[in-house]
Symmetry: D2
Subunit: 164 residues, 4 copies
């Protein structure tokens, strides 16, 4: 969390999650598939804070389809852990964008009041599509809303679109 | 399963489920919310075998909304258990119907080749609704398909509809 | 919520849940199995506020096993709805206890600033068991903690234990 | 699936999954987090067929912890689709191994009896750990069982272990 510059603060969001009992598996730890759900909750909150909801995207007939996900599992989270999920827009291309995530446990015995413990980090790539699921350019108004929230890398997504 | 008369066989369906790892909780047993999911899988299979799918219900603008569920948890199922879910139509009223379920584990150490062990049983009540979620009478054609599969109790659903 | 007398306030807990995207099904509404999960989250919070966690129950070798659940689905909740889950201890017997729940949506268009809209209510019954899953009497210390939080019906659970 | 050589057949497993209703989201498609669950089901089946279960790993105090996952979402799967999940051991290192997956829909309208349609593919990396979650070398007996099933790339996992 030490990279939290002013720009960073503007383009990231954080949500807290108390790990529910049913998200932990017989090994007692959060099942790995759940992190994609936690990441999504944080990402939706990120959009909400920037005024972008499903309703606002219905007008221009837009959806953001997940085309790739990647997660690194660094340590175990358990039932009742207080997870902090941090999300930030990492890169925006013509028709796709990439988000980066960090999930940390704070304030449990293992952290001893020191630094939060990293549990997982990851990334997801989202392509802009219409109802027909055909790729669309990210509309200028949406791009503006997304970019207004601090410095974001801009790049071409030619390869990204071909790959998935 | 000893009640399996000829009529019973006609109006019940069975599905097998290998308990997935992620459905077991830190106590090592299937989390109780999952039985409603297993029951649904069996119920959808029951409808499929009688020629009723979401597609066939789209024409007459029909949906079956769950209005009540009840489950009794009798013993524990664990990861990798082979669950047999049995579903049967228990009662049909004018605008609602009730299904009954039994989930048993067969062939594990605890059964010793003897009778399957009862894990959970339950019931769900479903009301017939249109797109607007307003209650509708079960259409005659659908009623016929459902009743063609053996003896089912018919009853008035006045109270059931008032209650939920 | 108008029954919130002083005693009621003492023996009930409330948690808020933003309905996650992945909890809504293709009909756009919260899948019915999820309410048992929401109820559990509220119940665990209820115990936590009374100083009872899994850790405190490990000493006397105690677990609370769900033996029955029942839910009435009154109206639909959707993605992004702000659900308020209220839980209260309804009845305590010698070896089992029953909780009652209400899930309401507040502040959406359908409520118009008026009363919250009831989405689902239900009940769960929990039996006290040891590691071996054998029934145990609720220990006096635990009973005291639970009863200290307001008026609760006391009753014999003979039938309840036989039934499940 | 045309790459199914003899070796390939030996080191891959396939499982079928009827997409359950509750795995589809309000957009009508399988929520992306579920593919990690489907992949796990296939992987567990892969181990089972090679005589490796949780029980057989308890003796030598072994667990396989997921340390990384990556999924590419190629097209949409829907409720009731018949998914075929193929898994194969892609690489084995000293203390970790990597599996590769493909999820295809077969026999739906979009495939027209032609080739199955690719829905998602991905990879997961698993490290061998003891109860204390400390990294351990994959034991020779286990390695033998895993390698007996056809040609697998062997490689050093130094970097992989550092990275996660």
């Amino acid at each position: 969390m030490n990279e939290a510059s002013e720009e960073h603060a503007h383009r990231s969001s954080r949500v807290h999650i108390w790990v529910p009992f049913y998200d932990a598996d017989p090994m007692g730890v959060v099942h790995h598939a759940n992190y994609l759900r936690y990441f999504e909750n944080a990402r939706i909150e990120w959009f909400r804070r920037r005024g972008i909801t499903q309703a606002t995207m219905n007008g221009p007939d837009l959806q953001l389809a997940v085309v790739e996900s990647q997660v690194w599992y660094r340590s175990a989270a358990r039932f009742d852990d207080n997870l902090l999920i941090e999300v930030r827009l990492h890169e925006m291309k013509h028709i796709s964008m990439e988000f980066a995530y960090r999930a940390v446990v704070k304030g449990d015995a293992s952290t001893n009041g020191a630094e939060p413990r990293l549990v997982a980090d990851g990334r997801t790539v989202h392509a802009c599509v219409g109802k027909s699921l055909r790729l669309k350019k990210i509309p200028p108004e949406m791009r503006e809303k997304l970019m207004s929230c601090g410095e974001v890398n801009e790049a071409s997504d030619t390869k990204a679109v071909e790959a998935p």
